[in-house]
């Protein structure tokens, strides 16, 4: 019972922060940058592991956030030197991910971080990996990390909601209004990296991408207002966590995989049935107009 509670809490915290950030990634047409960041944080985590000699959350957060920002910076740099944007994303994230995998597999004996955990996460073991502070058991560490990430996301979004909104829809106007667009760009990227690391251990590198993009895209088909989109995205994320966990329980499969698959099912349903942008209703409306 209590294990279910912690797993669900972890999944819900993860999907809430991913859902919020994902909206901005979708609106700024940077969905694949999210993909790149979530892969690129791996070497940061591995290096932090090597240096701290254990699962030091703070070191991992810092290492991975730095690597995430470095990857964004490198992609930007390649792009400005004339490489196509998707090719530069492809080069940078695969290279960084390869470095991470090599570090992990060369030190497989010394560090307790295996490739399966990196890819799929181990959300099922969340409750046994606890954080001890001053000798007291404070509860699962992932919950703390994700809670911290979610808090940072919510606080920054609330403080700078107007700025984020304007840079998302019209960066040129935002720049003309005197908003430091680049600063907000890197702030968003930093938040994405931080969330990726915090979610990394629970759902794994590749599924973070799914939780960043899929619920936000689902919300994007439900509404035309940013505020509502953020809300729907979080709701879609949480719904897929809960339903996905149930599915994983029933079919005895990976929890992370089931959560992303459920998010995908929700997306497909929305894609077909959404009142405004859904495929079926649009077709129906077209037919009625033609008749």
């Amino acid at each position: 019972m209590s294990s279910d509670f912690w797993i669900l809490l972890t999944a819900i915290l993860m999907s809430a922060s991913c859902g919020l950030l994902g909206c901005f990634l979708i609106l700024r047409k940077m969905a694949l940058i999210g993909d790149a960041i979530s892969h690129a944080v791996l070497p940061g985590i591995a290096i932090a592991f090597l240096f701290s000699g254990g699962r030091d959350s703070v070191a991992m957060m810092i290492g991975a956030t730095l690597l995430g920002l470095l990857s964004v910076f490198l992609i930007q740099w390649l792009r400005s030197s004339g490489v196509q944007s998707d090719a530069s994303i492809g080069i940078i994230f695969t290279a960084l991910f390869a470095v991470g995998v090599i570090i992990v597999s060369l030190n497989a004996r010394n560090i307790d971080l295996d490739l399966d955990c990196v890819l799929f996460g181990e959300i099922a073991y969340v409750q046994w990996d606890t954080w001890t502070w001053n000798g007291t058991d404070m509860g699962p560490r992932s919950v703390w990390m994700l809670g911290f990430a979610l808090m940072a996301v919510v606080i920054l979004l609330m403080l700078f909601y107007k700025q984020f909104k304007l840079t998302a829809f019209d960066p040129a106007l935002a720049a003309a209004c005197g908003i430091p667009v680049m600063l907000f760009h890197y702030m968003l990227m930093g938040l994405v990296s931080m969330t990726s690391v915090a979610s990394f251990e629970s759902v794994g590198a590749i599924l973070v991408v799914g939780m960043l993009i899929i619920p936000a895209a689902t919300a994007y088909l439900w509404t035309d207002r940013l505020g509502m989109m953020l809300l729907y995205s979080v709701v879609a994320g949480i719904a897929s966590s809960v339903l996905g966990y149930g599915a994983a329980y029933v079919w005895n499969a990976s929890i992370g995989g089931s959560i992303v698959t459920t998010a995908g099912v929700l997306f497909v349903l929305t894609f077909l049935l959404s009142p405004r942008h859904g495929l079926l209703l649009r077709k129906w409306r077209q037919r009625r107009l033609a008749a």
Partner: protein, 303 residues
């Protein structure tokens, strides 16, 4: 040196190295076309999408058969490309987000199936997780034959269809105007990409296969403006990366082939980006400096 000699003398190793080099060569070739068509990341989506295909093939047949995996991955890849196009065409979601959705959804399904297979305790599944990062050393003789077959087919097709591929890569509209079956050709190219990706999964793994399509091609692009030279260079770069990947992963125990191959390709890319005569960073900065000096000298001479 001894190690190199060992590769040459050990017949098994010789086959595997040859296979990986062929793989690098063909992915460099097809990757160049994909790069020119600005569809580099399609390979990434296809490679991730292959995972559920492989799992389903395994669940249906119950054995690790390369042909079954190939078919499964091919079908999954076709569904994935169709899905990406469909989402981008029928909603306001852009191409890149559509790619992210399809990629992560397919991978999620794949992971779900993979864990189900692992939990079901089927005897022959032990090697299935090798598909994630690749382990060239685990390739069987028939896997290498398969790889060689696919690569040769691809090389042959690229040679035969050099002219149409070239035209649709640079100016698809013109090709359509000439009455060529552009859509058919594009589909063929996509099919070839799926084939390479599937063939490469055992050696490089699903996660990093896209690098083998993208990185050598971009590196080659730095050196030349001619398609034929670019194809040749991309093929050579890919083959070298394949060689170094298998070499190092067979030397060091526990080192997966994929990441080493990708890292080798990245090093080739970094060298190209720095040193290529026309577009490289060093050459560019030198030319800029010379131009600035000339301009300054010219400016003083006029005064």
């Amino acid at each position: 040196m001894d190690a190199l000699w060992m590769i040459w003398t050990d017949p098994n190793m010789r086959w595997i190295v040859a296979g990986c080099m062929l793989l690098g060569l063909s992915s460099g070739l097809i990757g160049s076309y994909m790069l020119l068509q600005k569809r580099s990341l399609i390979g990434d989506a296809l490679a991730h999408a292959a995972l559920p295909g492989i799992c389903i093939a395994f669940m249906l047949t119950g054995v690790k058969s390369t042909v079954g995996f190939l078919l499964g991955a091919l079908i999954a890849g076709a569904i994935a490309t169709f899905g990406i196009r469909w989402i981008a065409a029928h909603s306001r979601i852009k191409q890149d987000a559509a790619m992210g959705i399809v990629l992560s959804l397919f991978f999620g399904i794949g992971v779900m199936l993979l864990t189900r297979i692992q939990h079901s305790g089927d005897g022959g599944q032990s090697g299935l997780d090798k598909f994630l990062f690749g382990q060239a050393a685990s390739m069987m003789r028939e896997d290498v034959y398969m790889l060689a077959g696919i690569s040769s087919l691809l090389l042959l097709l690229c040679l035969l269809l050099y002219k149409p591929f070239k035209l649709i890569s640079f100016d698809a509209g013109f090709a359509r105007g000439l009455g060529w079956p552009v859509a058919r050709l594009e589909q063929l190219m996509l099919l070839l990409t799926v084939l390479v990706v599937v063939a490469g999964i055992q050696a490089v793994g699903v996660v990093l296969m896209s690098a083998l399509l993208i990185t050598p091609a971009v590196a080659a692009r730095y050196w030349t403006d001619k398609l034929s030279v670019m194809l040749l260079l991309a093929g050579i770069f890919g083959a070298c990366s394949g060689f170094s990947g298998t070499f190092w992963s067979s030397m060091v125990t526990g080192l997966p082939t994929g990441p080493v191959t990708v890292l080798s390709a990245t090093i080739v890319f970094a060298v190209s980006a720095l040193l290529a005569p026309q577009r490289g960073w060093v050459g560019k900065s030198l030319r800029q400096r010379r131009a600035r000096q000339q301009w300054q000298q010219g400016g003083t001479a006029h005064e």
